[in-house]
Amino acid sequence: MTVPSPRRWSGQAIFMGWATLVAVGLAAPFVVYPVFLMNVLCMALFASAFNLLLGYTGLLSFGHAAFLGSAGYVAGHAAKAWGVDPLLAILAGTAVATVLGFVIGSLAIRRSGIYFAMITLGFAQMVYFLAVQLPFTGGEDGLQGIPRGRLLGLVRLENSFAMYYLVFAIFLVGFAVIHRTIHSPFGHVLRSIKDNEPRALSLGYDVDRYKLLAFVISAGLAGLAGATKALAMQFETLTDVHWHKSGEVVLMTLLGGMGTVLGPSVGAIIVVTMENYLTGFGDWVTVIIGCVFVVGVLAFRRGFVGEALNLARRFRS
């Protein structure tokens, strides 16, 4: 897709960026409703994980909700039915999403481009139907009243602030993993594949293996987001495995700026806020989101962060 030029940041700038991010995150629940913030953080992590594929590998997965939702169901079930430690529940969800990512990924990467999108969408729909039918998911009702439990048996997470800081910590870990992946030897190969797949192939890279690993990492982190979200929101429903969710994460990434580190998070803030404060408009929300999608695709392909970077570059030169 569009190719944003790489930006180089000095170590100091990156440190400052992280410090600001952490400071904002730490202060946020004192000014904003924590449950809303947790939702934003989980979706931001979800979108960042998705961006690893779309923005840095050039793969459009149209079925990422499958990983978000399946991890949510597994974590929710583990916490609710087996009463395991919340961290363990989150890990279990993440693990399942990772395995699922490997299975779906190894089938889907056999085709590329549009077919890849359609195949991931198809498998996600299959996961959706499974979620409707499997006994432990609660079908149309979903899982309700998932206990947050005590972190490591100590901290009561019923308190929204405690839960928020756990979610924030998980977000930071996930975000750091993504950041490192992008800026690793592996990440460089991914970018080369995104830029020019045949050329990467002709340089001796088994691109399918790189794509698969990227897919698995992305699926696992999407699962991490989903599992965390299930505990934070205390419910898990079909909404999280529905294809609308898969589309939503594309929108977040597109709107924020694909292939930028912060873009998906900005997109997540915008989309979740929009959905939250537009609920009064009822079914117009879908129409508005659709319009945002269309405008984004037609005229705003760099996204907010992409545009900002572009402006910044123009000023500099």
């Binding site: 897709m1 569009t2 459009l60 149209f62 089938l107 889907a108 056999r110 085709r111 481009g113 549009i114 077919y115 999108a117 359609m118 195949i119 969408l121 198809g122 498998f123 729909q125 299959m126 139907f129 499974l130 409707v132 039918q133 294809w243 589309g247 594309v250 597109l254 009822g282 079914d283 117009w284 929300v285 879908t286 129409v287 508005i288 989101i289 659709g290 319009c291 945002v292 999608f293 269309v294 984004g296 695709v297 037609l298 392909r301």
Partner: protein
């Protein structure tokens, strides 16, 4: 046995819709390289066009069968002219994203206007009733759906494989630049192709109106199955998409008889198997 034949027949009816929709998708994809996500929404629009025609203007079913696809086709022309056109130079994925956004808009608007619960559309008088086949009672209208769908599919196939217009279409699929050499006005050709493919979806919508509730969500769940059908069949051949559509409808029917809980997932399981064995699809070209 009764139940088996009954389910197979119901499967064949569903398969007719898969075939009609995947045919339209294949034609659009072939020439425009766009995966038309809004195909399902436009199918729904066709059904609503028929319903609105009947309720507000008194247009009967038979009129709707002609007018609704025309209306949807026109809508398609507008979409292609104003939006899709700007994306041909970009990655094909943008076409998918754009039509996804359009789907949300179209569905949201109908949802706002008509709610979610759907409206009934009466079976035309001529096709009411049915006959007992021994193994099941076949409503006449459903028999009509199968016959007409197959006929329309075959006619489209004939046009594409056997006529001059079809030859251009096929040539364009191979190499759009080649068309210019034939003196074909390519932009117009693209517009018309999109309009025609979408009109097929609208036609399917009118056919579906008396069977299913006419509701805003009727297309979106169907379209994903149709995508799977397309992956299984491969976009290579028009004929392939017809055969795959009908075949998978039958497979679904068979599954409903053998193990009903798997009926909604069987298409995707087949998709996984086909990807393992023939990544390009049953009728697709390896490229």
């Amino acid at each position: 046995m009764r139940a088996l034949f009954g389910q197979l027949l119901v499967g064949l009816i569903n398969g007719s819709f898969y075939a009609l929709l995947s045919l339209g998708l294949a034609i659009i994809f072939g020439l425009l390289n766009v995966v038309n996500f809004s195909h399902g929404a436009l199918y729904m629009t066709g059904a609503f066009a028929a319903w609105m025609g009947l309720h507000y203007l008194g247009v009967p079913y038979w009129g709707a069968l002609l007018l609704a696809p025309l209306a949807v086709g026109l809508l398609g022309v507008v979409i292609e002219r104003t939006m899709l056109r700007r994306l041909y130079q970009l990655d094909h994925l943008y076409g998918l994203l754009l039509t996804f956004g359009l789907t949300l808009i179209i569905e949201g608007l109908f949802h706002h206007q008509f709610g979610n619960s759907g409206n009934g559309y009466p079976v035309p008088e001529l096709l009411q009733g049915g006959s007992d086949l021994g193994f099941m009672f076949l409503p006449r209208y459903r028999a009509w759906v199968v016959v007409v769908s197959v006929a329309v599919c075959l006619a489209s196939w004939f046009v594409i494989e056997r006529t001059r217009l079809g030859a251009y279409l096929r040539a364009g699929t191979e190499n759009p630049r080649l068309l210019q050499a034939f003196g074909v006005n390519v932009p117009v050709m693209l517009t018309l192709t999109y309009g025609f493919g979408v009109a097929l979806a609208g036609f399917a919508g009118v056919m579906a109106a008396p069977i299913y509730q006419v509701s805003p969500g009727m297309g979106s769940s169907l379209i994903i199955v149709v995508f799977a059908v397309v992956v299984i069949g491969g976009m290579g051949s028009i004929f392939g998409s017809i055969v795959t559509g009908l075949g998978l409808g039958l497979v679904e029917g068979l599954t409903k008889y053998l193990y009903p809980p798997a009926a909604s997932t069987v298409v995707f399981i087949i998709m996984a198997l086909v990807l393992l064995v023939r990544p390009a699809g049953l009728f697709g070209r390896q490229k």
